[in-house]
Structure formats: C-alpha cells, structure tokens
C-alpha cells in the first residue's frame, strides 16, 4: 500500500493534527456571535408577540375591524396576504386562543407605524370570542399573537396567477388582504372576488374592497337575500356564476362558512377544476361533533375526567365529550398553544396516554407515525372516556 512514499504516508495523521491545531492558533480568540440566518428567521417568525389594540372601527353593521400594533414598538413580522394570526386573549384565569385571517395587507405591517388588522362579525349568540371582540375588547388592551400562520396564500410554484376568490361573510378577510396588496403593487396576481353576502346593507369591508378595484382586482357582490332594487348578482356562488367570472386556468381560493364548502365542492366538480387549482381555508372545528359518523352518540352529554400530565405534575380537570381537549384545558385555566383550531397545523400536538378520544375526521392533519402512537391535535380531539394526556409545560 503506497500513496506517495512510506514516510510521507505514515506521517499523515500527525500532519493533519498539526494542520488543525495551526488553524485554531490563527483564529480569533473572542466570541463571534453573528447569526444573520437566525435574524431573518426571526423577522419572519418571531414567535408569540405582545400586541396592543390601537384602533377599533366598524367594518359593517355587524362587524368590527381591530387594529393591532406591537406593544414594544418593534417591527411586525413578514407574512403573506391570506395568512392568519393566532390570537390569545387573557380572560380571567385563563387564556383563550383563536385564529383570525388578517384583513390588512402585508405592506401595511411594514410602514413605520406598522399594524395588522382582523375583522370579526358578532355571532348569533354561539360565538363567545366573536362577541367578546365586538362588545368588550377596548383600544389599549393587550393580547398576544402569532403570525403569519397557515397555507392559504398565493404560492407561485403552486397556484395560477389568475385567482378566483369565493368568499362568504367574514370569509372575505383573507381576500381583503390580498386585494390591498395587489392594489399597492406588491402582489402580482389578478384577483376576482365573488363575495356572497345576505343583504347589501351588511357587506363586510365594502368600502375598503371597492377602493382596491382596478385592472387587477375585481369585486363581484352576490346577494343571497331578497332585495328589491338590487341590480347585481343574486343567489349562491353557483357553478354557472363561477364560470361566468372565471378566467382560463384560474386557481380557486375558498373561505367562508362550512356549509358553503360542501356546496362549492359540488359546484367546482361540475366545472371540472383540477384538485391542484382549489384551495380551502381551514374553517375551525364543527359546532356539533356528534354529527360525525363514529362519534358515540351516548357520549353527547357526557363529562369525563381529564388527567393532564405536564412534566412530573398531574392535574385532573373535567372535560365534556362535546368539546375538544383544547377547550377543556382552556376552561380549566391550563395553557395550551393552538393556532389553526381545525386539526390541521399540529401546534397543539398532544399525547394520549390512556383513554379514548374521537378525532374529527375533517381536517385531520396528523402524521402517520403520530397516529400509531396515540398522538392527537388537542383542538380536534374529543374525550369519549376518562382520558390521560401529556402536553408541553408552558
């Protein structure tokens, strides 16, 4: 065995050791802390921020827009038009988390007094947080929030530059963000918004949307209610209506109430839109989990014991079978991080140590190996017996 000669060959190990020590001897003897990669990562994803309510204003007869700025005066993160913010509201002894699509544009967060806005409609009595935001939240209050979350945005590798937005009610908010960004010249897509509302006097963000209309943004209002004198489109977002306003090769972005999704799946099928051209925003957990096949009907009204393991500590709290594990934890004042509240993003990944849970089959975003080992996403898993779970210490 010879590479260059016996002596040179056998001296190799000493030679490379000397070379290494020589490199150390030449090097700086003080700390070099620079990590610009981490800085950019933090500018996009700084984690949870403390936000102050800077302004609350009316967005329609029944909805309000809430503007947030960073409480410490710092810069807001970058995000894409269409993404949501996961807000945490301190209420009494606990913290309630909800996702809201950001209705302001990314560029508005980059201005000197940068802000993000959400637009929320008062509920019909069943939306606790929606009513809290409309009735109780005040300018000057602080909350915490994480943004930008979710996948509901224009991704040039995936989506057509011709986007048809199908929006119902407050489902308009991600498209308001897109429309403003396009009008500002910082998002290069053509957007047609088919916006379903009940009546013309309760169209959310009407003026702001119309201010964006131009060569690249078209807003089409569609009213479902009877209204004398209305000359615009009427009815639902039917296949016929969608075809009428669709350019060739469009991507369809859909955001609105759950019933609309079921309807639109059928309509888009009629139009033979390929799967890759259809994007649904997550819509939260269903109001009534017991309507899903496989949910044990006898459990509908049941309340179980939920044992919560954090580190070496265990707490026992009550948990209703009709509510997700995340809700049970929040009711008991135990913090859990959640973002999408739809089972999809996995931030609330939780290990079930024992007991049975029912996982909402819609939007089940779990990994295969996680399923095998009993992991669930707490926002979309319902206790149907006494259950023991392990969650992160927060």
């Amino acid at each position: 065995m010879k590479v260059k000669g016996f002596l040179k060959d056998v001296g190799g190990a000493s030679r490379v050791t000397k070379a290494r020590l020589a490199a150390f001897a030449r090097a700086d003897s003080g700390p070099v802390t620079s990590d610009p990669i981490a800085e950019v990562a933090a500018a996009w994803h700084p984690g949870r921020l403390t936000l102050r309510v800077a302004q609350i204003r009316r967005a329609s007869k029944t909805a309000k827009t809430v503007r947030f700025v960073r409480a410490d005066g710092g810069e807001l993160p970058y995000f894409y038009a269409g993404q949501f913010i996961a807000l945490e509201f301190p209420l009494g002894d606990t913290v309630i988390s909800r996702p809201y699509s950001i209705s302001s544009a990314p560029y508005e967060a980059r201005t000197p007094k940068g802000y993000v806005e959400i637009t929320v409609r008062r509920s019909r009595g069943d939306g606790f947080m929606a009513d809290y935001i409309n009735d109780t939240l005040r300018e000057g209050d602080t909350v915490t929030g994480t943004l930008g979350c979710g996948q509901f945005y224009f991704e040039p590798l995936r989506d057509s530059r011709r986007i048809v937005a199908l929006a119902g009610g407050t489902g308009i908010t991600p498209f308001a963000s897109m429309a403003k960004e396009i009008a500002h010249g910082t998002l290069d897509v053509d957007l047609t918004v088919l916006f379903g509302s009940v009546s013309s006097d309760d169209i959310i963000l009407k003026e702001e949307l119309e201010a964006c209309a131009g060569p690249h943004v078209r807003i089409v209002h569609v009213l479902s209610g009877e209204e004398p004198g209305w000359t615009g489109e009427r009815g639902f977002l039917s296949a016929e209506l969608i075809r009428k306003y669709s350019p060739d090769g469009a991507s369809y972005f859909i955001c609105g109430p759950q019933a609309m999704y079921t309807f639109l799946r059928g309509e888009l099928k009629k139009l033979e839109v390929p799967a890759r051209r259809v994007r649904f925003e997550v819509f939260g957990t269903p109001k009534d989990i017991s309507r899903f096949e496989g949910f044990p009907q006898e459990e509908k009204e049941a309340v179980h014991r939920l044992t919560v393991v954090r580190g070496i500590r265990e707490d026992v709290i009550p948990a209703r079978a009709s509510e997700s594990l995340a809700v049970a934890l929040e009711r008991a004042g135990i913090r859990i991080e959640t973002a999408c509240r739809s089972g999809e993003c996995g931030l609330c990944r939780t290990k079930v140590l024992s007991g049975r849970v029912f996982v909402c089959p819609e939007g089940d975003g779990r990994r295969a190996a996680d399923k095998e080992f009993g992991y669930v996403h707490a926002c979309s898993a319902y206790p149907v017996s006494d259950v023991k779970i392990k969650i992160p210490i927060l």
Binding site: M1, K2, V3, K4, K8, D9, V10, G11, G12, A13, R15, V16, T17, A19, R20, L21, A23, F24, A25, R26, A27, S29, G30, P31, V32, T33, S34, D35, I37, A38, V40, A41, A43, W44, H45, Y78, Q151, E155, P156, L157, R158, P274, R310, G311, I312, R313, E337, E344, G346, L347, D364, G365, R367, A368, A369, D370, E372, P392, I393, L394
Partner: protein, 512 residues
C-alpha cells in the same frame, strides 16, 4: 419546582437523533435522563409535516449504516439493540448520475456498481473494484478504531491502509488510481454533501461513506424520518427518560469549569450531574454558558478556527400524476453540468443559479409515500452556510422563489415535463427554515466541514484537549463523526459513552 425532579443524572439539550441516541444509551444503563426539546415534536430536521392531507418528508434522502435485518450495520444494529423497531424500506439504487454526455444508474454492491461503471466507461472495472476495496478496508479500520483505540505502531501493523491514506485528500488518493475522467465523474456525485470538494475532503471520509453507501445501500423508514424520530422518543420514554417539548434551553449553568444544570427560556432552573448539548459549540460558547467568564479563549479559537459546513435548500413538490407519467424514473438523480466537486463546492458559495441538483422521488422506495395517482419530488442543493448570510428579511421571499423556480425549470427541461403544471403542494425549505425550527447555528445542518485541516483523524487525536468545560458533552452534526443522520446517531452514542466513561472513572477514583 413542579414540573421537574430536583436533580437528574443527565440533561440532554435537543431531542433530535443525536440527543435521543444519547438518551437511549444512558437510560439503557439505568441513568435518569431529561431531554429538553425546543420544538413540539422530536427529530429536528428528521421530521415530516402534513400539507393538504399529505404527509411530506422534511429532510431525509436516505439512511446509511442500516443494513438488512439479518446483517445490520452500525446504526441499524443500535436501533435493534435499543428496541427501536423501525419499518425500514430499501432504497432501490445508489443514484442516477446525469451529466451532459452521460446517463448512468448505479446500484449498491461493489461488483454491481463497478460493473455499471464498466458498461459506461469500459476498461475501468479492475481499478474501480480496487478503489472500492481500499475504501472498505479503511471503513473497517475506522469502525474498529472508534471502539478499540490502539497505539500508532499497532495501528500501522493492523490498519495499514487507514494510516497511510489518513494524511491525504480524496483527490490525492483517487489520482493514484489513474481513472479516466468519466469514471471519476461517476464516483464523485454524492460526496459533495460532506462539505468539501475532493481537493479538501479527507480520503478517510470519502472511503467510509463510499464503502457504506455502495457496499450496503441505504434505507428509509416507511412513515418518513418522523417514524424514526418518534420511535426513538417513544422507546426512550418507555425506558424512563423524561422528554419535554417546547422547552428552549437558554443557559448551561457552570461553576468552576463544571456544568451542573440548565435554565430554560420559561425560567426553570434544572440541575444535573452532566449536560449533553446538541446546540453548536459556537452558540454554546458565545451565548449559552452562564457565567460567560467560564468560557476560555481557547474555546473561541476552536470554534472560530473551523469552517461551518453546508446548509440545505430544498423545493418539495407533491405532483398530481404518478412519477412515471412525468418521466421521473429514479429514486435519486444527481444532475450537473460537471461533477468536479471543487468547482461545484465553489458554486455553493453563492445564491445560484445552482448547477448541481440532487433530486429524490420517495415513491420509488415507498410506492405509498403519497396518495394513489400522485408522487413526491424534491430538488435539493446544499449551499455553504455563508452563502445565505447576505439575504435580508425583505429579500428572503424573492430569493427563495427565484432559486426554487430555477431548479424546478432545470429539472422540468431534463424530464421534458413542465412540473409546475402538476403541483398539488409546494414547499420551499431554506437555511432560515432550519434555523427557525431547530435553532441550528446559521441554519447549518452539517456541522463543520471535513477538510484537511479539520480532519476526522485529527478530531479524534485532540478530542480530550477540546473539553473546555467538565461534565458538558456535545452531540450532533458538529461532533467527531460529522454530518448526516447516521453519523448523528453515532455522535449521540459517543457523547453518552463519554458520560459513562467519566462516571466510571470517578467511581474508580472514589474507590481508591
């Protein structure tokens, strides 16, 4: 303190492959171990995520050192010994090399591999076999010497080839085989990932990787690398290890040059006899040791005197057709207009266009990797960590999309299929993505570059002198065995072994 015990034998910072390997080995010896992981799941980059209902591999191309069930190699055997039962699937080929004038698919097994090179470049079989056999001899020596150190004289007698090639670069040793350029091109493509061109890459590293990869092939877990990470974590917990997610360690507590615990971002101060740390030494010495005065200048000289290795940029696509219909015909394709690793390495110092692309289609090892009628296809380049330092937050989106578009257009042209007309899901991963999820220093996944002045043989020789703080061990890609998922496991085991050796020494000293 509510959530933690008063004291642990060992605290492991980081629940990725290295940290979990340490934890498994220590728990196996009966130690009380606490693992603190910043993310909400184990694995670091060895993970997966779900988009549009489809699970997507985040990083793993293939695992080496696994071997078939009845003839496991080092890493595969460790998993078996620890009771970590992973559903391994064999990757069907080594790689398809694609050059302007050469298209060759190479399969594992020395004779097969050399035979396929012979078909493409006649007259090379004997030389390639000789090279592969030399690689294997060095590989065997490294495996034995990492377990049984011996004197230099003994080493020269028993491990001659290892000793005599240790002082040379890959290029210097390959040159002695007098192979035609085309054959060299087929022997080169994979190894750019270790972080150096052949002029700088120690032959020892080339030999070990080549012997392992070509000799025994590679594997992937059925349910992506998350299966591997999760099964390690689950097994560790079953063995009594406490694993806590979403716990970022901010400080390693040190007194009189001895580590005695950690403090988390949440504010928990937790004590232990030993700390095993997966964070880069650069980060540890510059910002994690408390008090900072416990860090000697020599520690800074060591980290500053080393070159960070590569990071990763990947575009992962889920496509709405089976792979064959899109003309994607191989598990892995290495495509470049040259295979000169030194030229390619310099290319990786920039922000593209990148001319050397590594492509993976998981469906060829695992037909069920994606739903019926679809496939996954990823293109990866491994830029030098420094390359992305000039990218500011406001340019980040534009830069990543520009590069993504370039690499996908290049591969579309190669396949004769516009891949962008078939995208169900698209994900771009950058050094920033890695920094975000793992906290890795400068988004670097591969530790320090293997070079002639940071040679694995030298790393072994000076390991003791580089322990600046007692009872603090490091594990991860930045440690002796270097980068890749297999070596991460080996690095984790080494850190655990150091702890066990130290405990034994102290017991012996106490007994005297």
């Amino acid at each position: 303190m509510d959530f933690y015990r008063d004291h642990y034998d060992v605290i492991v910072i980081g629940g990725a492959l290295a940290g979990l390997s340490s934890a498994l080995m220590l728990a196996d010896k009966g130690l009380d171990v606490l693992v603190l992981e910043r993310h909400n799941l184990p694995g670091g980059v060895s993970t997966s995520f779900v988009r549009g209902g489809i699970e997507i591999e985040a990083a793993l191309h293939e695992m080496m050192s696994i071997g078939p069930r009845d003839a496991r190699l080092k890493v595969g055997k460790f998993f078996d010994d620890m009771g970590v039962d992973i559903d391994w699937l064999k990757v069907p080929e080594c790689y398809h090399a694609s050059l302007p004038d050469l298209e060759v698919t190479l399969h594992p097994g020395f004779k097969t591999f050399a035979g396929e090179i012979e078909s493409a470049v006649p007259g090379t079989y004997g030389k390639v076999m000789k090279l592969l056999e030399l690689c294997h001899t060095v590989f065997d020596s490294v495996n034995e010497l990492s377990v049984h150190p011996m004197s230099k004289v003994q080493m020269l007698l028993k491990h001659e080839a290892f000793v005599k090639t240790a002082g040379y670069s890959t290029k210097e040793v390959l040159d002695t085989f007098d192979l035609p350029q085309k054959a060299l091109d087929l022997l080169a493509p994979y190894w750019i990932y270790v972080g150096s061109g052949f002029e700088e890459l120690p032959f020892t590293i080339y030999a070990v990787l080549m012997a392992d990869y070509v000799g025994y092939g590679s594997y992937i877990p059925r349910h992506f690398s998350h299966e591997m990470s999760l099964k390690m974590a689950e097994r560790a917990e079953a063995m009594g290890v406490q694993i806590e997610y979403r716990q970022q360690v901010e400080k390693i507590l040190v007194k009189d040059k001895k580590a005695y615990g950690v403090r988390t971002k949440r504010g928990d101060e937790i004590h232990s006899d030993y700390v095993i740390c997966s964070a880069y030494p650069n980060k540890v010495y510059t910002s994690m040791i408390e008090p900072a005065s416990e860090v000697p200048a020599a520690a800074f000289k060591m980290v500053n005197g080393r070159r960070l290795s590569l990071s990763a940029f990947s575009v992962i696509l889920i496509l709405d057709r089976p792979a064959e219909e899109l003309n994607i015909r191989d598990y892995s394709i290495f495509r470049g207009d040259t295979m000169d690793t030194d030229v390619l390495y310099r290319d990786l110092a920039g922000l593209g266009p990148y001319r050397y692309l590594t492509c993976i289609c998981h469906n060829y090892a695992n037909p069920e990797a994606t739903p019926p009628g679809t496939c996954s296809f990823s293109v990866t380049v491994l830029p030098q960590a420094d390359a992305w330092k000039s990218v500011t937050a406001d340019r980040y989106d534009e830069v990543k999309h520009r590069i993504a578009r370039q690499v996908i257009s290049d591969m579309s042209a190669y396949f004769g299929t516009d891949l962008l007309e078939h995208v169900l899901e698209a994900v771009i991963e950058t050094p920033m993505t890695i920094a975000r999820y793992t906290g890795a220093w400068n988004g670097c996944i591969y530790g320090y570059a293997h070079t002639m002045d940071d040679h694995i043989v030298a790393r072994l020789q000076t390991a003791e002198e580089e322990k600046f703080i007692e009872r603090l061990e490091f594990s991860g890609a930045h440690q002796i065995s270097g980068d890749g998922m297999g070596p991460a496991v080996t690095n984790g085991r080494k850190a655990a072994k150091n702890v066990l050796d130290d405990i034994r020494k102290r017991k012996e000293a106490a007994a005297k």
